[in-house]
């Protein structure tokens, strides 16, 4: 038993299941999905082997080759070669290979072997390989490679037992180190061919089912129709399934607030609890089901392997506006939140493509904006049926998401023409095999998102809500006041000051005021409106949506919706742009263009809607 932990690095081609294996070994909950480039940073975890030895596991981004072309591949190469700042090279390298896709994965193994360090090969997805009738002579493969080979099934409990036993034993002897040059690299493919011929028998190169699915999913006409249908369905479902649950939670909190109010003596404290906590936070919490429904669909799409197909079909369109098919997945993650989206751009090789994607990612409607949309839509858009089939509210929601997407395309197009860069950017994207989403991974994903939401709710949103309540309540009205008390409060003064700026786009002072906390967290706009109107005594029986409908005109509401479709991103997004691009200039550009865009779009919306009504 050694005091020092054995340091083990997991490496391999993208999407071979390194992170799934990492989670299985360490009990971690790192994100897994079915496309290349999910893991973009080194992640660390540890566990204790049966012998009592502590094993420290390092999960690294996937790489096709040591000739790194993107920032995430570079991390993997640096760690393995011992060039990563502050990190010694690993004691043992576990090279993970997808047993159904050995040709490419074995080539990377041969590259790793040349480092001259102890290596174990983990043949992952052995269950899928067996299902497809692929037979691998593991003993012969191990003999020819001169290193231990174990079989794993990372998605099954106990699927890594053989690997644990192996890494817990004696360290395997390393192969002699070899120099890396173009000639020897070209030779690797013929070595792989020999290995495969001698050890693997495969009935057919691809899965019959995948080929059949792709014939439809990638069909020039049906493929696009399926993609449009899938996207449309998601937004309809968010409304159909999420909304009733949200209403239930909202009503529950209203009822609870009423009972608590009856128990407490009237005064500032009662106002804080009823107006601030129950009114403000309760309203935001009500949107949790809506967000979870959206995430359920995003996770299903990620797990199934459909996303890279969508990227394939949309590449031409993305290219024409100056993005790349590779931008598709980071941009889609931005519908959850721009922060993981912007971090996900690390798998984009070209720096210019990457910057363009970072700058437009916040235009994708993040889930924090969903409560704002949902509240305003419920208050102002009637729940008509269109063609007896679609919910009008769902259609408006879809239109707002579409507005963000079209805005992003326009911005990317302008950037492309400002740059006048004619150099070539590669796509070179692998399409993974389809996979049935694993219930456990989807459940973990939903749990993680729900936990993040609740943490924000009890942290930053709670703090801001209390602050908003304070600003709206103090100072009280002077003696002999003729106007409502809230007009004399700090909030009243600040809001009226801001209304000078936002008046032309139709925002009253309450709406202008709500923009400030929204800059810290979007959802807080809802809580702030709830608090301000409740303190002002404008919320009676019908709830916040009802109060809004009576206080705000339709053109103003539409203008606010459009504002949030384009409005400058929250502070955390600006911070992540600074971190990822290491440039304040990009932060300023990002904030500036979105502010101007939102203002102009809202101005147009308000003026046109006012002229029509």
């Amino acid at each position: 038993m050694s005091a020092d932990a054995l340091r083990i690095a997991l490496v391999g081609n993208p999407n071979c299941g390194k992170t799934a294996l990492f989670n299985l070994l360490t009990g971690g909950r790192q994100k897994v999905a079915n496309y290349a480039g999910v893991t973009i940073e080194r992640k660390e975890g540890r566990f204790t082997a049966p012998s009592g030895r502590v094993l420290q596991i390092l999960d690294l981004p996937g790489a096709y080759s040591f000739d790194a072309v993107s920032p995430d591949e570079q991390i993997t190469r640096d760690v393995l070669e011992g060039n990563y700042p502050g990190e010694a090279p690993p004691d043992l390298i576990v090279c993970v290979a997808d047993a159904t896709n050995l040709r490419l994965h074995l080539r990377f193994l041969l590259e790793v072997r040349r480092l001259g360090r102890p290596v174990v090969l983990a043949l992952n997805m052995m269950d899928a390989a067996r299902r497809r009738g692929i037979a691998i002579d593991v003993a012969e493969l191990s003999r020819r490679l001169g290193l231990p080979v174990v079989e794993t099934v990372a998605v099954k409990r106990g699927g890594a037992r053989a690997l644990v036993e192996r890494v817990d034993g004696e360290l395997p002897l390393p192969a002699p180190a070899q120099a890396d040059d173009a000639a020897s690299r070209a030779d690797l493919h013929s070595q792989v061919r020999e290995l495969l011929a001698a050890t693997v028998s495969m009935p057919r190169a691809t899965s019959k089912l995948d080929d059949a699915l792709d014939r439809w999913a990638l069909h020039p006409v049906f493929g696009l129709a399926i993609l449009a249908g899938v996207m449309f369905l998601v937004f309809q479902a968010v409304y159909a399934a999420g909304k009733p649950m949200s209403d239930l939670i909202g009503d529950g909190f209203g009822w609870l607030g009423g009972h608590v109010a009856a128990l407490m003596p009237a005064g500032p404290l009662q106002s804080l609890v009823v107006d601030g906590i129950f009114g403000g936070l309760g309203t935001v919490l009500g949107f949790l089901p809506v967000i979870l429904v959206l995430f359920f669909f995003i996770l299903m799409l990620e797990e199934s392997g459909y996303l890279p197909r969508a990227a394939f079909m949309l590449d031409r369109l993305m290219l024409s506006v100056g993005l790349t098919g590779r931008s598709f997945i980071p941009l889609l993650s931005s519908f959850a939140c721009a922060i993981p989206g912007i971090m996900g751009t690390r798998s984009i090789q070209d720096p210019r493509d990457r910057l363009a994607t970072i700058l437009v990612a916040p235009l994708m409607t993040c889930s924090a904006r969903l409560p704002v949309y949902a509240l305003l839509i419920a208050a102002f858009i009637p729940a008509h049926r269109v063609f007896d089939l679609f919910n009008l509210q769902g259609l408006v929601l879809f239109a707002l998401y579409l507005a963000g997407i079209l805005g992003a395309m326009a911005v990317a197009w302008v950037m492309k023409h400002l740059h006048r860069d004619r150099s070539e950017h590669a796509l070179l994207m692998e399409l993974p095999a389809y996979r049935l989403p694993k219930l456990r991974d989807v459940a973990i994903g939903l749990y993680e998102r729900g936990a993040i939401f609740l943490k924000r709710l009890t942290g930053v949103i709670l703090a801001l809500t209390v602050l908003m309540w304070f600003l709206s309540t103090f100072p009280g009205a002077p003696a002999g006041a003729t106007l409502p008390a809230i007009d004399y409060s700090f909030a009243g003064y600040i809001g009226r000051g801001l209304a000078h700026v936002f008046g032309p786009i139709g925002f009253n002072w309450q709406m202008s005021l709500a923009l400030i906390p929204a800059f810290a967290a979007r959802e807080t706009a809802v809580a702030a409106l709830a608090t301000v109107y409740m303190v002002g005594g404008d919320v009676a029986g019908g709830g916040l949506a009802h109060a809004l409908a009576s206080q705000i005109s339709l053109p103003s509401a539409l203008s606010l919706l459009v504002w949030f479709a384009y409005a400058p991103q929250c502070m955390s997004t600006l911070a992540i742009i600074k971190r990822e691009t290491a440039s304040w200039r990009n932060v300023a550009i990002s904030f500036g263009y979105m502010f101007v865009m939102a203002y102009v779009a809202s101005l147009l919306t308000y003026q046109i809607a006012s002229a029509l009504t």
């Binding site: 490419l104 691809t206 994207m429």
Partner: protein, 86 residues
Amino acid sequence: MTGSTVRLSDLPKGALAVVDRVDDAHADDPIAQRLRDLGFVDGEAVRVAAVAPMGGDPLLIQIGYTRFALRRAEAARVSVRSEAVA
């Protein structure tokens, strides 16, 4: 082996061929090097599995057990022999 070669980008959908070589589009072409790393080397069988809607770009190329999306400009670097080779 020295039969006529065509560019991978010129093959129709569903066509089978064998890779001959990858040419650098310019000196030190990183895209060509990556294609070689991804297995586009002499003797490897390829198939044009699908073409994208809207102008038929990019292409989906099946090589070995893997499917790669390549833009036409990338696929143009790959020369293939279209005769049947066992």
